[in-house]
Amino acid sequence: MNNMEEKEVISLSKDLNEPKWLLHERLRSLKVYSVLSKDIGKALDAETFGTPDTNVSLAGARRDSLHDFLEDPRRKDIAKSFFINRFYRPEKSIESAFINAFFTECNFFAPEKESATMTLTRKHGIAIDFFIILARANLGLNSDSGGASISEYYLSDNASLFQSSTITGKHSLLLEARILQNDAQAKLNHAFFSTAKKTNNTLLNGENSKYAESLLFVTHSHDRLDVSSTILHASKSTDSTLTAKGVVKDNAVATVNSLARISHESQGSKSRLSTHAMILTPGAKATVNPDFEILNNDVIASHSASVGEINEEQLFYLMSRGFSRDKANQLIIEGFLDSALPEGEKALRGKLDAAISALYKSSSLK
C-alpha cells in the first residue's frame, strides 16, 4: 500500500470526523484497491475527480448525510448496518474499492410522501448515495452526473422509481445498483455525451418486479464509453427490458455490455435486450455484447444487436427533398435515437437533440 495514499485516507477521515469503524472500512478498501490496481496494472487518481459540487433540490423527499445519521444516537446503528451491508463493497471491483476508500460525501435520500421528485446535479467529486424508497412510495429522479460515485437504490414492495439521467461530466465513473422487492418497478433512461464508465447492477429480488432501461449515447472526438448493465432475475414473474442505442463519431469508442441472468427460481420471467450502434465516421468503434444466462425453461427471452452506418437510401431520400447532407444525417440520427426514448420522456429529449446538433458543429461528416 502506498504510504501517501494511506495518509491521505486517514486525514480525510479525520477531517470528516468519522468514527473508527468507518476509517477501518476506508483502509480496508484502500488495501483491496492497491492489490487490484497492482494486478490490473491501472490506477485511478482521486484528484482528477475534484471536490463534490453536489446540488440537490427536493420535493417531498429528504436528504441526510451519513454524518447526520451517525450523530443521531437513535439512528446511528441503522446507518452503520446499512453502510456495512451495501452492494458495492470494495471487493466488487477496482472502481468500487477506489470510491469506498476516497469518498468525501455520503448521502441518504428517501421520499417522505407517496410521491416525491428530486433533482441531483454533480459534476465532480467522489460520493456514495443511497436511495431508500419504502413500500408504495414513488420517486421521480432527474440527475446530471459526473465524477465518481456509487448509487444504490432500494425499492420495497410496490415502490417505484423513474429516473432520467444525463452523464455529462468530463470523466465519469459511476456504479449503480438497484434492488427491487415484490411488485416494485424501476425505469432508467440515461444518456451519455462524453467519456464515462458506468456499471449497472439490477437485482429483481421480488415477484413481479420490473426493470426497464433505455440507454442512449452520442459520442465523438476521443470519447471513451464503457457501459455495462447486469440484470439478475431472482424471483418469479420478473420482467426486464434493455434498449441501447447510440452513435460514435470521429475517434470515439463505445462498448456496451449487457447480461440478463434468469435464475432457476424465476419461472415465468421475461427479458429483452437490444443494442444498436451507428458508426458515423471512419475511426470510430463500437462493441456490443448482449449476453444471456438462462437457467430455467419457463422464460421468454430475446435479444438483438446491430452495428451499421447511416442508411444511404434514407440519406438520399432526405437530400432529394432539399436537406443538406449534415441536416439529413442529423434527422436520421434523431429518428434512430428517438425510437429508444420511452413515451413521455421529456427531460432527455432536449439534451439529446442539442448533443446531436453539436456533433455536426464540430466537424462535417464526410
Binding site: I279, T287, N289, S302, V307, G308
Partner: protein, 467 residues
C-alpha cells in the same frame, strides 16, 4: 452410410480386454519429452516435425487453462495415453483390415458393404487411419486425400508450408498439446480449378480407455477449386474421462469453396476441445456445418478469417446438451477485407439438466468496407433443470458496414403442442416434431444420409423421458 444409429448412441458397447490389448504400441500414461521423441521416431518423422512438437510442448507447459467457459480442471492430463497405434502397417484394402477392428465397426453399425457406397472414406480407428480409399478419378485430378501421417511422409513440403500457420501452437493450451502429440487426422489438397463432386468423408473414433485423441486436419483448396469434407465422430462409452483435442486448419485460396461438415457424437465422458479455423482469400467461400450432440464438455468455435476481398463465411451449427453435458459452442468471423460477408446460424437444445452456450464473436476490422454480417442464434430449453446461455460479441472498427444479431430463448409453445396433439399425435411425438422443425435449417444442409441419421438421433433423444 446406412448404419444403425441407436447402436451408436447406446452405452455398453464394451470390447473385450483381449481386443483392447492388440494395440501394437501404446505410450505409457502421461506426457514428457521422451514420449514426444518416441512418437516422432516411431512415425519416422523429419527433424523439423520433432522440433515443431517439442516447441509446442514447451508452450503447452507454459500456458494456463482458459479462465472463461466450462470448467476443465477435472481433466487429468497425466492420466492419458498420448499415442496409440492399432496396427503396425496401414491397411489400404478392407479385406486386410484386422478382424477386431471390423468387429467394432460392425457394432457401431458400419457394414463392410459401406465401402461400395462410399468410396473415398478414410476411417480413423484410434490414433491412426486404418484404411483409406480414394477414388481413382480424383487421384488422376491430383486431389490428395490421406491421413496426416502419410501426408507428412509423402508431401512434406505442402504440410510444412501450411501446418501451424493458421492455428499456431501459441493459440491456446489445447492447440499446443495437439501440436506436441498430434497423430492422424485428415489431409486434403485440391489443386487449382478442380471441383470435387462427391464429399470426402472420415470417421473418428476413440476406443481405448483414457486415451486422448489428437488428430490434426489440414485442408487446402487451391484457386478456383471446391471440396466438401465430412467427418462424423462416435465413441464407445467408458467410465474414465477422455480427451479429444483436435486442430483443424482450412485454407481457401482465391475463388475456391470449402464446406466442412462435422457431426460430433462423442460418448458422454469425452472432453471435446477443438480449434477449428479457416482462412478465406479473395472471393473464397468457407462453410462450417457443425453438429454437436455428444461429449461431456464441448468447446468449439469454428472461425473464419475473411482475408480477401469478397470472401464469404457461413457457419451453421446445432448443439444438443442432455444430462450432464455442457455444449459451449459458437462461431467467429473476423472481417479483414472489403465486401466480405458472414452468416452465422446457431440452434441449441438443452434437456435433462444439460447446459448449452452460444459463444460467438464477429469482428469487423478497419478497412473492411461494406462488410455485412448476420448472426441468428436460437435456443430451446426443454425442461426447467436445463440451462442456455448466449454470449455474442460484436466489435466494429469500420463505419461502412452492416451487422445484425438476433436471438431467442424459450420453451416449446404450449399451443404448438396442443395443435399437434389435437391432430392425434402423442405428446412426445409432438415435441420431437417441433424440435426437428427447430433444427431444420441445419439438417437441410447435411448430406442426405447424415440428415436422416441426425433426425433419428433427435427423435430418439426427445421422445424418451417426455410424457
Amino acid at each position: 452410410m446406412f448404419f444403425n444409429l441407436t447402436y451408436r448412441y447406446k452405452p455398453g458397447i464394451m470390447m473385450s480386454q483381449r481386443n483392447l490389448d492388440q494395440h501394437s504400441f501404446r505410450s505409457s500414461k502421461g506426457l514428457d519429452e521422451e514420449i514426444i521423441r518416441r512418437i516422432s521416431s516411431i512415425k519416422k518423422e523429419p527433424e523439423w516435425m520433432l522440433e515443431f512438437r517439442l516447441n509446442a510442448f514447451k508452450i503447452f507447459n507454459a500456458k494456463k487453462l482458459q479462465s472463461w467457459g466450462p470448467d476443465l480442471s477435472k481433466i487429468n492430463l497425466n492420466d492419458l495415453h498420448y499415442y496409440v497405434r492399432p496396427t503396425e502397417k496401414k491397411e489400404a484394402d478392407w479385406s486386410k483390415v484386422p478382424e477386431h477392428i471390423k468387429n467394432t465397426f460392425d457394432k457401431i453399425g458400419i457394414p463392410e458393404a459401406e465401402r461400395k457406397f462410399l468410396a473415398g472414406s478414410t476411417a480413423q480407428y484410434e490414433s491412426e487411419a486404418v484404411y483409406s480409399n480414394l477414388k481413382k478419378e480424383w487421384e488422376s485430378l491430383g486431389v490428395i486425400f490421406k491421413d496426416m501421417d502419410s501426408a507428412l511422409r509423402e508431401h512434406p513440403e505442402i504440410v510444412k508450408k501450411y501446418l501451424g500457420t493458421l492455428v499456431p501452437s501459441t493459440d491456446n493450451k489445447f492447440a499446443a498439446l495437439n501440436s506436441a502429440v498430434w497423430s492422424g487426422g485428415s489431409f486434403v489438397y485440391v489443386p487449382k480449378g478442380v471441383e470435387v463432386q462427391i464429399p470426402l468423408q472420415t470417421y473418428f473414433r476413440i476406443n481405448t480407455q483414457n486415451m486422448g485423441q489428437f488428430e490434426r486436419t489440414l485442408i487446402i483448396a487451391e484457386e478456383g477449386s471446391s471440396v466438401h469434407y465430412v467427418e462424423g465422430c462416435s465413441a464407445v462409452i467408458y467410465s474414465a474421462a477422455s480427451l479429444h483435442a483436435a486442430v483443424v486448419e482450412v485454407f481457401a485460396h482465391k475463388n475456391s469453396r470449402i464446406r466442412y461438415t462435422t457431426i460430433q457424437n462423442w460418448s458422454n465422458n469425452v472432453y471435446n476441445l477443438v480449434t477449428k479455423r479457416a482462412i478465406a482469400n479473395e472471393n473464397a467461400v468457407v462453410e462450417w456445418i457443425d453438429g454437436n450432440i455428444g461429449s461431456k464438455v464441448s468447446m468449439k468455435y469454428p472461425t473464419v478469417i475473411l482475408k480477401g476481398e469478397g470472401a464469404r463465411a457461413d457457419v451453421i451449427s446445432i448443439a444438443y446438451a442432455g444430462k450432464g453435458q455442457i455444449q459451449d459452442t459458437g462461431a467467429r468471423a473476423i472481417h479483414l477485407a472489403p465486401n466480405t460477408k458472414s452468416k452465422i446460424i446457431s440452434k441449441s437444445i438443452s434437456k435433462n439438466g444439460g447446459q448449452s452456450s452460444y459463444r460467438g464473436s464477429v469482428k469487423i476490422s478497419k478497412g473492411a468496407v461494406n462488410a455485412t454480417s448476420s448472426v441468428r442464434c436460437d435456443a430451446l430449453i426443454l425442461d426447467k433443470e436445463s440451462r442456455s446461455d448466449t454470449y455474442p460479441k460484436i466489435e466494429v472498427d469500420e463505419d461502412k458496414v452492416s451487422l445484425a444479431h438476433e436471438a431467442t430463448v424459450g420453451k416449446i409453445g404450449e399451443e404448438q403442442i396442443f395443435y399437434l396433439m389435437s391432430r392425434g399425435l402423442p405428446e412426445n411425438e409432438a415435441i420431437s416434431m417441433i424440435v426437428l422443425g427447430f433444427v431444420e435449417s441445419f439438417t437441410k444442409e447435411l448430406p442426405m444420409e447424415y440428415a436422416v441419421e441426425l433426425n433419428r438421433l433427435i427423435q430418439l433423444e426427445t421422445k424418451e423421458a417426455v410424457g
